[in-house]
């Protein structure tokens, strides 16, 4: 379970993308997600693809690792492509598969949507691949700061996020530990009739919940013991700071957006 899926996994590194301020990364990715939907020509898709590929390369994370981590996503992309191919009935009939006509519009539509999907997933996973969960929550807290005016609990939200992110690996480890302990007691999680396998979840879930609650209680106690009182007047160990490379990255991105508007039809 630990090496199949990379979404949410941080890979330490020193690349330019790693060093960008998490806020600039998030803003760029947020805008990218919107902008992807504006592309409508070969050139505009090409531009976005080149941008994505260059960004991916510059993170210096091994491509094979990223490709392997996106395996479950490939299936989804292929499925989307086939769905579009079958459903769309525009343009000329290209050829027939077992007397089922395939239209040129279907191919174009399928390719465009799959590519769009791929770009979206790749770019968003680059965020988590190059940014620690802590940086992401800091960035969210900082970006949502204006909402404090309308009494939105920004700090509490960020705290909740960082606690949940912090405990994902812990819970994963715990799950692995308990499932190994129960497997040693003869529980079979991987084979046998479905009914038995569903029942096998109980010896896993009960201890997991017990330890999660215990952990939550201990954490609350530890926070209180250290005088935690919420966000007011709290300072940060690592202040986020917008620097030269951030201005550079944002400018490059805006050039891409301008380019996109020029290549749209």
């Amino acid at each position: 379970m630990n090496n199949a899926f990379i979404v949410g996994q941080y890979v330490p590194g020193e690349s330019m993308i790693h060093r960008l301020d998490p806020r600039s990364k998030m803003v760029i990715i947020f805008l990218f997600v919107i902008v992807v939907f504006l592309a409508n020509s070969v050139w505009s898709y090409g531009l976005l693809t080149i941008f994505t590929v260059l960004t991916t390369l510059s993170t210096r994370i091994p491509l094979s690792y990223i490709a392997k981590g996106l395996t479950p996503v490939w299936l989804l992309i292929v499925f989307t492509f086939i769905l579009q191919l079958v459903v769309t009935k525009e343009g000329a009939v290209l050829f027939q598969i077992i007397s089922y006509p395939i239209y040129s519009g279907g191919v174009a539509q399928g390719a465009a949507i799959s590519l769009r999907f791929f770009l979206l997933i790749l770019v968003t996973s680059l965020l988590t691949l190059t940014t620690t969960p802590l940086e992401i929550t800091d960035a969210i807290e900082s970006l949502l700061h204006p909402l404090k005016r309308i009494k939105f609990p920004v700090h509490e939200l960020a705290l909740m996020m960082s606690i949940s992110l912090r405990f994902i690996p812990t819970l994963m480890q715990e799950t692995e530990k308990i499932s190994k302990a129960q497997a040693s007691r003869g529980v079979d999680f991987k084979s046998g009739p479905i009914k038995n396998r569903i029942q096998a979840i109980i010896p896993l879930l009960v201890p997991l919940f017990v330890s999660a609650f215990k952990r939550a209680e201990e954490l609350a106690m530890a926070m209180e013991a250290r005088g935690y009182q919420g966000g007011d007047g709290r300072t940060k160990l690592r202040e986020l700071r917008i620097e030269g490379i951030d201005y550079l990255a944002i400018s490059v991105f805006f050039l891409i957006v301008i380019g996109l508007f020029l290549t749209r039809v």
Partner: protein, 290 residues
Amino acid sequence: MDIIFEKVSYVYQKNTPFEHQAIQNLSFHIPSGAFVAIVGHTGSGKSTVIQHLNGLLRPTKGEVRIGEYILSSDQKIKELKQLREKVGVVFQYPEHQLFEETVVKDIAFGPQNFGVSQNEIEARTKSAFEAVGLSEELRERSPFDLSGGQMRRVAIAGILAIQPEVLVLDEPTAGLDPKGHREIMSMFKRLHRENELTTILVTHSMEDALEYADHVIILDHGTKYMEGKPEEVLIQKDKLQAVQLDVPEIIQFLFRVENIFGVKIPYQGQSIVDLASELNRLIRGDGSSE
């Protein structure tokens, strides 16, 4: 059942940036009926070795043989469940695996999974109960209402009820008080003798390795660093300190006696009581020459 590791290597998360070699070219042989201690500093590969003993992990390279069962990288073993019935593993903090409504149900969980008959299960839970020294009135209690030490005993009883031939113990006394520690360890020693088990104790307590094991294997960074009889291996102070391990207290004491009084007392597995009277004799003997 004989346990043989032959040039075993294991790599976690192979082909990712997180790739990590846990054990490397590790070979050893544990004869049936032995009490072996595997000792090593954190990260020496102890836990990885344990998980090879009942097929939770398969070696990346090399071969593990446990009795008639063979684990290697290229073939999946079909009788995994049989193997797990024969090799019982008490993991670190085993009380985390409790989940049933009552203590007795939790102890019966293992044997049930291995298809033991109902009558037999009752007999086994009863004897496991006695073996770990739990009082009868706890039988129908929820395991979550018990104290930490009692929970530990229930969890251990749950493994004993499987009646394995090989018992693997991963720091079984971590977090217990000295009394609980002694009780649990002497229980394992007794079970080892009475049921003719092969016992593998993974620990970082040099004292336990010296006292209970008849063979020690010292691991460092996933390779075998030293191996042999406890009373021969565990006195090599300089070699042990090179891998952040210390000699057992009793041997430290002998070294100090040698340093301060210039008397060398050879260690031959004496208990503290024997040693005290030996010292007493020495001191009296010295007194007469004054």
